[in-house]
């Protein structure tokens, strides 16, 4: 693997080819907010809070775009900006959208304070899950149990425990609980438990 050089917020950084922009920024100590990123998991690119502006390509094909830094590979010669007026505006809207779903999440409230996101900018429609997928991916990738998964799609998409697996495995594990940025995961777990045969829970 060869090393490449790029510029993030005016500072040059050398990273191995294939490194994500998010990892390259962290190497420089630049913090980019994220909700769905996790060190032990494959990049997912769902919450889009980690967006950056990237100018890349050769002199003839230079182009500027907004990219999710957790899934965008660092490119040689690229110029990356992590804070711009546009990005701040997008981040604020993203947080306001998620706040409509999970208004009481401490993690969201903390980010909302940093980005000036208004809690009631959009109509509340609380489901408490923000679809970061941390629980689903942790259970699949690290534990390889698939005890919790997504069901349905679009605006009806939700997480759900699979009673047949969860009833057997979860009581002893619960490693996904601290990953959840809202309280929804535990609520879903309690709901699932009420459906499975009590003896299987022991």
């Amino acid at each position: 693997m060869s090393e490449i050089q790029l510029e993030i917020d005016g500072r040059a950084v050398r990273v191995e080819e294939g490194t994500t922009i998010l990892a390259a920024a962290r190497k420089l100590g630049i913090a980019i907010p994220t909700l769905c990123d996790h060190d032990g998991l494959e990049p997912y690119g769902a919450c889009r809070l980690c967006i950056v502006e990237v100018d890349s390509g050769g002199p003839a094909s230079r182009r500027s775009r907004v990219a999710a830094s957790c899934v965008a590979p660092a490119e040689a010669g690229a110029v990356v900006r992590t804070r711009t007026e546009k990005l701040d505006r997008f981040r604020r809207t993203l947080l306001e959208l998620e706040l409509a779903r999970a208004p009481d999440s401490p993690r969201l409230q903390e980010l909302a304070r940093e980005h000036g996101a208004r809690r009631d900018h959009f109509d509340g429609d609380a489901s408490f899950c923000i679809h970061c997928g941390l629980c689903v991916r942790y259970c699949a990738e690290v534990k390889q149990l698939h005890a919790v998964g997504f069901i349905d799609r679009g605006i009806r998409k939700e997480i759900s425990f699979l009673p047949e697996i969860a009833g057997r495995e979860c009581e002893a594990c619960k490693e996904c609980f601290p990953l959840c940025p809202t309280s929804y995961l535990q609520a879903a777990y309690v709901l699932m438990r009420s459906f499975v045969v009590p003896s299987r829970m022991k």
Partner: protein
């Protein structure tokens, strides 16, 4: 037919097929595409077979069920060759007459011919009907002349000549150059240059050993036909797949040769039963005769194709979602790069094209790039099939050269708006396309012009709307479709669409608030730039394009609580004009809510508190009275006084 082991044998067999056919022999072509089947084509076909046998002319007259002819509005369609006499909306009971008159007596049955509403004259030949006359049916044309289950029919029109030429007269690189030179761009929506896409897949290296090589255990490159046509109202891919599967498979095989693929997949919606059936049958036939499988045409090319049925998720038309679905995973788009050309199905370099794109390939190879590139505009070459639906006289599939003015499609081919209504807009490019207003009707339809107008080519849906259509409600409808069809993975699309739908719904209900339009614009900008895939990136288009061209309608809804098109139920009131009401009692009796007060000789009045705006009174009020009308944004006029409501009829008053 035995195995065809060389191009020479292919030509020999073709010559045999043609020798057995007399072009002057009368034959009946009945469209048995899905559209005509729905209006009873199967019974019409059976009736022809029976009537021809009964007349004892079955030795001299041929009958064949063909693919979709496109003029679906007037199905079932029957064309009698060689004179090309076209009968429309044929019923089984018409058939004995048609056989006796046209096939035996050689007379045309006038009443089933197309009646040109402009000239008032009957049109005999199919290609003279205005709907067809302005079209250029290069890709879609053969549909009407061949039986999709007959390889012989396809060979008779020159089938597989292009494949033989590609395999024996061209290197893979030359084929790619030819497709590049033709200027073919992907027909599935994005319009990416097909030759460039093929080139990327050709150059891509297969990972040694492959990451995981799929159920078949095969490795190597893959080509895929995207037949996950999901746009409401669009069915050109279905019609091609049903009506000419050999052409799609020939194009796919040429692509496999050019790219170096050993395996192909056809990803087709489960709902497309006939397409699945016809392409499956075509595949088996081609394997039997050695046009697929090992050593295709004796060239050494080994290429196998499988049909995969999709479960009907709109988002699976997006190529990365389609590939994950093929792998048996949930159909959710993933970030590109890596592009499928580098890492696609099971990690193998993969090239995906839409049905119509593959179907264009044989023609490019057999006729040459220059002939293809001679049609169209600077940036968009060849022809495009559109499905013309909505408030249009001639519903159907139309194939036109790129660059044709939109006006010509709507008014010449489509025959304009029915019911004397005014044209308002045409929605192009499917749910995430945009609406184009009357002022832009002279726009020349191609990839770039549609994008410039704030819409897109998409897969080629054209939904025509008349003056009774509310553009805010149209945006709400398409956004609602997308909230259902979004995969729900990334926040700007899932949450953004959820809120956009809420806001648009409340605007159409007259509950729009200050700041709603700004919120919609903000969410649109977010979805456009920040979404993970093209579905999210284009999802705000229905709002953005209607806002761009019909802003005053949005403002009327939000500020004046008025729906200018008189379409949004919550903003419309029905009233009876006392000057026109004759107290005929019809609306009073039909009103399901009992919301009309009146009686004999007593002018009717709608009791607004009881009225649910169902519109029944307007529908049933005789046109000669025209007393019921809709109003929006203005107060309901006070009802006339009891004295004013009494109708004194002259006749009765004069009676003693």
């Amino acid at each position: 037919m035995t195995r065809i082991a060389s191009p020479t044998e292919l030509e020999r067999i073709r010559a045999e097929v043609l020798a057995g056919r007399d072009p002057e022999r009368p034959h009946v072509a009945v469209c048995v595409g899905t559209g005509c089947l729905a209006t009873g084509a199967r019974a019409v076909l059976a009736a022809f077979e029976a009537a021809i046998a009964e007349q004892g002319i079955d030795a001299t007259v041929g009958v064949r069920g063909t693919g979709c002819h496109g003029f679906c509005e007037r199905g079932p369609i029957v064309v009698i060759e060689p004179a090309e006499i076209c009968y429309l909306q044929v019923k089984p009971e018409d058939v004995p007459e048609l056989v006796r008159e046209t096939l035996v007596e050689k007379r045309v049955v006038e009443r089933l011919l197309y009646l040109d509403p402009r000239s008032g004259e009957r049109v005999v030949r199919e290609s003279d009907i205005p709907f067809y006359k302005h079209q250029k049916r290069l890709i879609f044309g053969p549909n009407r002349t061949i039986d999709p289950t007959s390889l012989e029919d396809y060979l008779a029109i020159g089938g597989f000549r292009a494949l033989a030429r590609a395999l024996f007269k061209r290197t893979p690189e030359q084929v790619i150059e030819e497709v590049k030179a033709a200027g073919l761009r992907g027909r599935g929506g994005a319009g990416f240059p097909t030759g460039v896409k093929w080139g990327l897949a050709r150059e891509a290296e297969c990972e040694p050993g492959g990451r995981s090589s799929g159920a078949s255990g095969a490795s190597g490159k893959v080509v895929v036909v995207n037949c996950d046509e999901g746009d409401p109202g669009a069915y050109m891919d279905r019609s091609l797949m049903e009506g000419n599967p050999f052409c799609v498979l020939e194009g796919l095989t040429i692509g496999a040769y050019a790219i170096g693929a050993s395996e192909g997949y056809i990803y087709v919606r489960q709902e497309y039963g006939l397409a699945v059936e016809n392409v499956g049958r075509a595949l088996r036939r081609l394997e039997e005769v050695g046009l697929l499988g090992d050593d295709v045409l004796g060239s050494g090319l080994s290429f196998r194709v499988k049909v995969h049925r999709g479960a009907g998720a709109f988002v699976c038309g997006e190529e990365t979602a389609l590939l994950l679905s093929l792998e048996g995973k949930p159909g959710e788009p993933r970030t590109r790069p890596p592009y499928p050309a580098v890492r696609g199905l099971f990690g193998r370099p993969t090239n995906i094209n839409n049905v119509e794109t593959w179907a264009a390939v044989p023609r490019i190879v057999s006729e040459g790039a220059a002939a293809f590139a001679a049609i169209g505009t600077a940036g968009s070459k060849g022809t495009k099939i559109f499905s013309l639906v909505g408030k249009i006289t001639n519903t159907g599939l139309v194939e036109v050269p790129m660059g044709i003015p939109l006006r010509e499609i709507v008014f010449e081919i489509g025959g304009g708006i029915p019911g004397g209504m005014r044209f308002k807009a045409v929605q192009t490019g499917g749910p995430s396309g945009g609406c184009i207003p009357e002022s832009q009707l002279d726009l020349r339809v191609d990839f770039d012009e549609l994008t410039r107008a704030g819409s897109m080519m998409g897969s080629g849906g054209l939904i025509v709307m008349d003056e009774e259509t509310c553009m805010v409600d149209v945006a709400r409808y398409f956004i609602e479709f997308l909230t259902d069809e979004s995969c729900g993975k990334c926040a700007p699309c899932r949450e953004g669409l959820r809120q956009m739908h809420r806001i648009l719904t409340r605007i159409t209900r007259g509950e729009g608030r200050e700041g709603d339009l700004e919120r919609l614009l903000e969410l649109s900008a977010l979805a456009k730039e920040v979404s993970l895939c093209a579905l999210g990136g284009t999802a705000p288009n229905p709002f953005l394009s209607t806002y761009r061209y019909f802003r005053e309608e949005y403002e009327a809804h939000v500020k004046e609580k008025r729906c200018p098109a008189l379409a949004c139920k919550a903003l419309v009131r029905y009233v009876i004009d006392p000057a026109r009401c004759t107290a005929c009692l019809i609306c009073m009796r039909k009103c399901p809510e009992g919301a009309i007060d009146g009686g004999k000789h007593r002018i009717h009045v709608i009791v607004q508190e009881k009225c649910t705006s169902c519109g029944t009174c307007l529908e049933v009020c005789p046109a000669r009275f025209g007393a019921v009308r809709k109003i929006s944004g203005v107060p309901v006029p006070p009802p006339p006084s009891e004295e004013e409501r009494v109708i004194v009829r002259k006749k009765k008053a004069a009676a003693p």
